[in-house]
């Protein structure tokens, strides 16, 4: 007997692969999606009786292709130009041999994250086509009304088709830029999952899990790209702390106060191994450095034993690669641990980040540690104005209240 859960598992694992192969075979994303959905519908009917086929992905792809061709033949007789073109396209390729070609998902990733598409469209398409998330799920995850998200996806797919955004892995000259866009989309999905920008809950586990899953696919497909390894390591190490990051009641627990026995040791080990593997290649990049910073935290049995000097050094490197005030802010936090809160505050006060809630929250904490209670309270208030999600707001309110009555 094949359970619904098993079929859902196959769906999650294989949807992106099937859509990717069918997109190449049919030359059209909408047709590919339709065909794959047809095939899954057939699987739900058949598999409970027949059991899982030896290669569920192969079965799905062959079924999807056959059904798509049947449908196209029916439509092509009605002189549908679009269907004829797709049928012509489908005639070229035998999907079985294509199963061996693992590049299809990679092609699809690069198409979804093409720079001619807005970032919001890149994210939506990646989750839809590679992650197999429904439009409703993506809309919920990004707190956008479903019709808005549906329109965003339809427009993006329309642009891919009409403007002929190519379906291929970019050549070597373009690859660094284009890969950066793919990595940025995965990290954006992960971050939205990790610190939901608004709403009730701090973490949307489903988005984190999806970003990590796609990160693994990318690493499998591009094992020699150190930044892809770095991003996966970064996500795994951050994710490893999730069980300790909130209390049972959903309140935020800062890194320094987390119960480190609750960190997911398997994820830590995997993340650290990846950090070592990518850094050995000697081509450091921003994701690798951020992963390395997180690996230093993961190394420390408790907050006091954190090697903050090492972290400052890594932030120096990161700042040199990506000079941004937000990176400088994080560096200042590390400096405060090495040289004291006054040194950290001096750096923070030199940053032009007045509208960033994290800036005020870091300042507030440094002022609190320096005993400058009144200023700390005002900084917590400023941080509260900008913070989006309920858990973050509650944390800032609690911290502000701990300063005592004004």
């Amino acid at each position: 007997m094949v359970s619904t859960t098993e079929i859902e598992g196959v769906y999650t694992r294989e949807y992106g692969r099937a859509v990717a192969v069918l997109t190449r075979v049919l030359g059209d994303i909408d047709l590919a999606e339709e065909a794959v959905q047809d095939a899954f519908a057939a699987a739900v009917q058949r598999w409970p009786e027949t059991g899982l086929p030896p290669s569920p992905a192969g079965w799905l792809i062959t079924t999807a292709r056959n059904r798509a061709i049947d449908r196209l033949r029916r439509e092509a007789t009605r002189a549908d130009r679009h269907a004829q073109a797709a049928l012509l396209h489908a005639g070229h390729d035998e999907p079985d041999e294509e199963l061996a070609v693992r590049d299809d998902r990679l092609r699809l990733m690069f198409t979804c994250c093409h720079p001619a598409l807005a970032t919001s469209a890149q994210v939506a398409l990646t989750l839809r086509l590679l992650g197999g998330l429904t439009t409703a799920e993506i809309a919920r995850a990004f707190l956008v009304p479903e019709p808005t998200m549906a329109q965003r996806i339809v427009r993006a797919k329309g642009k891919i088709r009409k403007a002929r955004i190519p379906y291929r892995v970019p050549d070597e000259a373009e690859l660094p830029d284009r890969l950066r866009a793919v990595l940025a989309v995965l990290y954006l999905v992960f971050n939205e999952g990790y610190t939901a920008s608004s709403g009730e809950r701090l973490v949307r586990e489903d988005l984190c899990a999806e970003a990590i899953r796609l990160g693994r696919v990318l690493v499998e497909l591009m094992p020699d790209e150190p930044e892809a390894l770095g991003l996966l390591a970064l996500m795994l190490l951050v994710e490893s702390r999730r069980p300790a990051r909130t209390t049972g009641g959903g309140d935020i627990v800062l890194l320094a106060d987390q119960d480190r026995t609750r960190w997911d040791r398997a994820l830590v080990a995997e993340g650290q191994a990846l950090v070592r593997r990518c850094l050995r290649r000697g081509r450091p990049g921003p994701y690798q450095i951020q992963a390395a910073i997180n690996a230093v935290h993961s190394d420390a049995p408790d907050a006091e034993e954190t090697d903050w000097r090492q972290i400052v050094t890594l932030y120096d490197q990161l700042l040199a690669m990506t000079p941004s005030p937000v990176v400088a802010l994080h560096r200042a936090v590390a400096v405060a641990e090495v040289d004291g809160p006054a040194a950290g505050l001096r750096l923070v006060d030199g940053l032009d980040l007045g509208d960033h809630h994290l800036f005020h929250s870091v300042r507030a904490d440094l002022l609190r540690r320096l005993g400058r209670t009144g200023e700390a309270r005002r900084a917590y208030d400023a941080a509260l104005t900008g913070a989006g999600n309920v858990a973050e707001r509650a944390f800032l309110q609690r911290r502000g209240a701990e300063l005592g009555p004004s």
């Binding site: 001619a116 002929r164 955004i165 970019p170 373009e174």
Partner: protein
Amino acid sequence: MTRYMLSVYQPAGDPPPPEVLEPIMRDLDAVNQEMRAAGAWVFAAGLHDPSTATVLRADGDEVLVTDGPFAEGKEHLGGFTIIEAPDLDVALEWGRKVAHVLTLPIEVRPLKFDTH
């Protein structure tokens, strides 16, 4: 192959003086030659000032005539090139060259009918 229109958007006001414009036009011509050599070039045109435009609007059986461009703006369509390219990446590559030469925004937009 898909045809794309590369539209040049230029700011309102007088064009730059000849000593600035001439080298730019020379470079643009070189890009056009390169497009021709690659078989990508289909057609190109520069437009006169928007003040030379006339707009016609159907109104029942009548057609109203107004002086001036359809939309007044800080930028207007100054010219365009139609190219043929296998995909958007190739079209963007040509657009990039034009943008680089003109230092003006270039809009790349697919035409509706493919040529096969």
